[in-house]
Amino acid sequence: MSFNSISEFLTMGGHGLYVWLSYGLGLVVILANLIVPLQAGKRLRVQLTRRLLREKQGS
């Protein structure tokens, strides 16, 4: 453990802004890379299923 208190951990010895900004961005990129394909997959399945059912009724 390299910090003695929570506030010390949060300020990061004056570099808190930079460190937390970086890790925040890291979290955003990682989450985006999970959420985007997940959402796209859901939308795709719905779209394909709908089309399939439509074709079935049509024929």
Binding site: M1, S2, F3, F9, M12, G13, G14, H15, G16, Y18, V19, L21, S22, Y23, L25, G26, V29, I30, A32, N33, L34, V36, P37, L38, A40, G41, L44, R45, L48, T49, R51, L52, L53
Partner: protein, 254 residues
């Protein structure tokens, strides 16, 4: 396609989108657990337990995001180019889909590497951006990704787009070492390197061990997001195949 016989069995199976879709589905939970464990554990280790750098202080902790994302952005480009080449030579659809799925992931990782580099630069150099050799070549790598994605979306026919993108990715692959060399050499010519971001003489174990954990965690995470995109891509491209129709209808019936 008649001279496929010499290829090993797994390679042949990999060429089947259906098999690939299923194996990705089976592997996904494992990789997700691995990635989550490594990334969370690594982050706590990096933020709380790793010692601060004697020169840069706590801003040094950005390395645990910057370096893994930079490494991944490059590995991802390599995978994209190799998968593109396989798709080009053996007309393997799955390889084309892998290549296409790689591009946006790699681009986002390059962005992360650039942003963390810039943020790190502020306390270290006193300015948000410095034409440091590594940052510059990462920026160019990002441009290469943009080119690949732009070309892929500009061509309507999917197989043509995949082939054209593969050629471009391969040309880029040949150029990456040249670009890297020229930028590094240009950088040393213009500003004698006083303080490089990531090159530290002999990092102590308690510093690089969490870095290793983060790098492996990023690779696992990359596998997760790649497989998710790949599965979507397989469904989309194979939408008229019988197995996809069955799969969709069985899901919608429930």
């Amino acid at each position: 396609m008649s001279d496929k016989k010499w290829m090993p069995r797994w390679f042949y199976q990999l060429a089947s989108p259906r098999w690939c879709y299923q194996i990705c589905g089976k592997l996904l939970p494992w990789f997700t657990a691995l990635a989550l464990g490594l990334l969370i554990g690594g982050t706590i280790w990096a933020l709380v337990f790793a010692p601060a750098d004697y020169q840069q202080g706590n801003s040094f902790r950005i390395i645990y995001l910057h370096v893994p994302s930079a490494i991944l952005a490059q590995s991802c480009y390599m995978l994209m180019a190799i998968a593109g080449a396989i798709g080009l030579i053996w007309k393997m659809k799955v390889a084309d889909m892998v290549a296409k799925s790689c591009a946006p992931i790699g681009a986002s990782l390059a962005v992360l590497a650039l942003l963390t580099g810039a943020i790190w630069g502020k306390p270290t150099w006193g300015s948000w951006w410095v034409w440091d050799a590594r940052l510059t070549s990462m920026l160019i790598l990002f441009f290469l990704y943009l080119g690949v994605m732009a070309l892929n979306s500009a061509i309507e026919s999917e197989s043509t787009a995949a082939q054209a993108t593969a050629v471009l990715a391969l040309v880029g692959l040949v150029n990456i070492p040249i670009i890297k060399y020229s930028v590094e050499w240009w950088n040393t010519l213009h500003q004698p390197a006083t303080f490089k971001l990531t090159e530290k003489p002999a990092m102590p174990v308690e510093m690089w061990l969490p870095l290793l954990v983060m790098v492996i965690g990023f690779y696992a995470f990359f596998a997760v997001t790649l497989m998710m995109r790949l599965r979507n891509e397989i469904l989309r491209r194979e939408r008229r195949a019988g197995w996809v129709k069955e799969l969709l209808l069985s899901k919608s019936a429930v």
